[in-house]
């Protein structure tokens, strides 16, 4: 890769470097001898982080600045100039932080840096905690650290030929970043602004100028909290392995990312009575429980496979637009057979998927096809329900209660706020004569009519299994649990993210 920078005489570099005896501070220094350093071969670099925490100031942000679309809205309210049109959208992420998730009262802080809270509370009501793992704890343990290393693993080229088959004489080297295989849970949090209709030039005007609110648009503040960890994630850099006279992608700079996330997620917008603010750029204190919660999430998403599928940059046309593409799987059996990793005798994948879901929590027992399936197929699991547990039975089990706030997918109102009316109308079995006929099975809330409550909640779960009857009933509640969900066997054949408007449309 070549990099060039332009600029007149403005760039300046100022180093203030102190190589000093550090006077009173030098009592803890440990000299490194030359012979100790010479033992390092350069095969890799490990980074261990102790008592670690990273926090941006609550007013500091990263921003994506949009452009006004063709025919942008110009009015406000129910007028023609505010109908069937779009506005410029700007996104800002403030105060990005990685901090401890220990369940210690008042060890954390809200976005105002003044209101204390408990970062381990079950409601995820606290955005920032202390150091990760508590005092003396590790974000990345020294005996399971973040690793950066260059090496030459085996793999498949785009045409299906073997790469690095001879480990003593490798033909390709990759550079990789590895997260620890195990690490403590931590809080990853930020608050944000979605602004519609801004007109400011961010390079020459402060955030208080040309606001969307002043131009008929709006401003929404939100908060995102993730409590968990990304242990087992892998990021790799390598040269894409496609040769030939007319390559689709060619030998170019390639990346792959295998994302693993486990933990809880909360997205909220309600602000606390004390500490709330609608002023642009000011950090509010968010209310403690409101929002959309995902509890006990476990996700694996593979973006790329070594050498034959990767994230690459490509031109779209010749007018300046470009794409970030996850390259398509070639129509080459030597590549797509291991990519699909079907069980012996299975030609459609259905039986392989059934087996994989059934055995999701068991080892592969040395079956290489099974191992490969688990690196090419992703999953997203919300909640702790799993195939084979008692709750899978329709007649018994411990499915989430109708208003359980500890597991699965949950909507919650703010504390002290009015209830909202939850509604469900989910067909389980369809009677082609219509949903009120006897064979139909539709899940609804088994409550009294008129939003007055009186819901029947039994051990079978939050949803009443009805055949006919009143399908309009709602459930007045401050929290509703939508249940658990699993997506298994996610396979990405090709993905193109295109940036248009660089030089005209795409």
């Amino acid at each position: 890769m070549r990099i060039t920078t332009g600029g007149r005489t403005v760039a300046a570099l100022l180093w203030a470097l102190c190589l000093s005896p550090l006077l009173q501070a030098n009592q803890g220094l440990t000299p490194l001898a030359d012979d100790e350093m010479s033992a390092v071969s350069g095969a890799g670099l490990a980074v261990a982080l102790e008592d670690f925490r990273f926090m941006m100031a609550p007013t500091s942000y990263a921003e994506q600045v949009g452009i006004a679309p063709t025919g942008a809205c110009s009015g406000s309210g129910g007028v023609a100039s505010n109908t069937n049109c779009w506005r410029r959208g700007d996104l800002r992420w403030y105060g990005v932080s990685i901090s401890g998730a220990e369940n210690l009262a008042n060890s954390g802080m809200h976005w105002d840096d003044a209101t204390s809270c408990n970062p381990g509370s079950s409601a995820m009501s606290c955005p920032r905690g202390g150091v990760i793992g508590g005092a003396g704890g590790w974000f990345s343990p020294f005996d399971n650290p973040y690793l950066m290393r260059a090496w030459s693993p085996e793999g498949l080229a785009y045409d299906g030929s073997a790469i690095n088959a001879d480990s003593s004489n490798p033909d390709k080297t990759i550079y990789e970043f590895l997260a620890p295989t195990e690490q403590p849970d931590y809080l990853f949090a930020f608050w944000g602004e979605i602004e519609a209709g801004a007109t400011r030039n961010p390079a020459s005007q402060a955030l208080t100028a040309g606001t969307g609110v002043a131009n008929g648009g709006g401003l929404l503040k939100s908060q995102t909290l993730i409590r968990g960890n990304a242990a087992g994630s892998v990021f790799r850099l390598f040269k894409f392995a496609e040769t030939g006279a007319s390559p689709v992608y060619g030998e170019t700079f390639a990346m792959y990312y295998h994302s693993r996330l486990q933990g809880d997620f909360r997205f909220s917008v309600a602000q606390a009575a004390a500490g709330g603010t609608d002023t642009i750029g000011e950090a509010p204190v968010f209310e403690g429980v409101e929002g959309l919660h995902f509890r006990n999430v476990d996700a694996f998403l593979p973006f790329g496979q070594l050498y034959y599928q990767a994230l690459v940059l490509d031109a779209v046309g010749t007018t300046g637009n470009f794409s970030l593409s996850l390259t398509k799987i070639p129509e080459t059996p030597a590549v797509y057979n291991p990519f699909y990793s079907l069980d012996a005798g299975d030609v459609r994948g259905f039986q392989t998927a059934l087996t994989a879901v059934r055995d999701w929590n068991a080892g592969c027992g040395g079956d290489q096809t099974c191992e490969t399936w688990r690196t090419t197929h992703g999953y997203v699991r919300y909640g702790d329900w799993y195939p084979g547990n008692a709750a899978y039975s329709a007649s018994s089990g411990t499915r989430n209660a109708i208003n359980d706030t500890t597991d699965g997918i949950i909507f919650r109102a703010c504390q002290g706020c009015e209830n909202f009316n939850a509604f469900a109308r989910r067909p389980l079995v369809i009677d082609k004569r219509g949903e009120t006929f006897s064979r139909q099975r539709t899940q609804t809330y088994d409550c009294n009519t008129g939003n007055v409550g009186g819901c029947v909640v039994d051990g079978s779960g939050p949803i009443f299994n009805a055949s006919g009857g009143d399908l309009t009933r709602t459930y007045p509640t401050s929290a509703v649990n939508l249940g658990d969900a699993r997506m298994e066997g996610l396979l990405i054949h090709q993905l193109d993210i295109v940036s248009c408007q660089g030089g005209g449309g795409c």
Binding site: T4, A11, L19, A48, M56, Q183
Partner: protein, 203 residues
């Protein structure tokens, strides 16, 4: 692009008063017993962090990336300027703990051939470089890293005869701009802090 490089050395307890060092003083410094480092980089901004000449077509505030296999095609970051400052990083020689944590995984230290890259795949008590930011740790203090970045437009530019793509502005648009700053004022840098210690060791 012109760079101004200034090396200043200051004593830790007298940081407020810059004093020149003599050659003799510098000769006493080996770096072996640790060092403290402050790094500041300004790119296309003046000392008040205002951009200089970074608007309009084909302005010189630009960075181009050309990837292998994409010869003559430049990913251009236009209206590009910024500032970064790392304040008072301290580097020190150190030793890893003598006892395992509950997260220990010896396989992390295996090489391609299955051999251990550190003796016995055991990193206990290994020598390491310890990196810390020891200052500005009160609640609400964010002074370990300052960062201002502006990328007004992003688009591809193509080589045109003898004119390289990075000297062209044929694609004048962009779908998005990117900026890192602070809401307190225009061009105020974003502020961040790092708590704790990083132990860096190789094999």
């Amino acid at each position: 692009m012109k760079y101004l490089l200034t090396l200043l050395c200051i004593f830790a307890l007298r940081a407020q008063a810059l004093e020149p060092m003599t050659d003799t003083d510098l000769e006493q410094v080996s770096g072996q017993e640790g060092m403290q480092l402050t790094l500041r980089l300004r790119n296309n901004v003046d000392e008040l962090l205002n951009p200089v000449g970074c608007s309009g077509p084909l302005n010189p505030c630009r960075m181009g990336l050309e990837f292998a296999g994409r010869d003559g095609i430049w990913l251009m970051l236009k209206d590009y300027y910024g500032y970064i400052s790392f304040n008072s990083i301290r580097l020190d020689g150190s030793e890893l703990p003598a006892s395992y944590t509950s997260y220990e995984d010896a396989d992390r230290f295996l090489g391609l051939d299955g051999s251990c890259l550190v003796a016995g795949c055991d990193p206990r008590s290994l020598k390491a470089v310890k990196v810390t930011y020891p200052f500005s740790k009160a609640v609400g203090e964010y002074d370990d890293m300052l960062l201002l970045m502006n990328i007004g437009r992003t688009a591809l530019e193509f080589d045109d005869g003898p004119t390289p793509g990075y000297l062209r502005d044929a694609a004048s648009g962009s779908v998005l701009g990117f900026r890192m700053s602070d809401s307190t004022s225009l061009n105020a840098p974003a502020k961040a802090r790092f708590d704790g210690s990083a132990y860096v060791f190789g094999f």
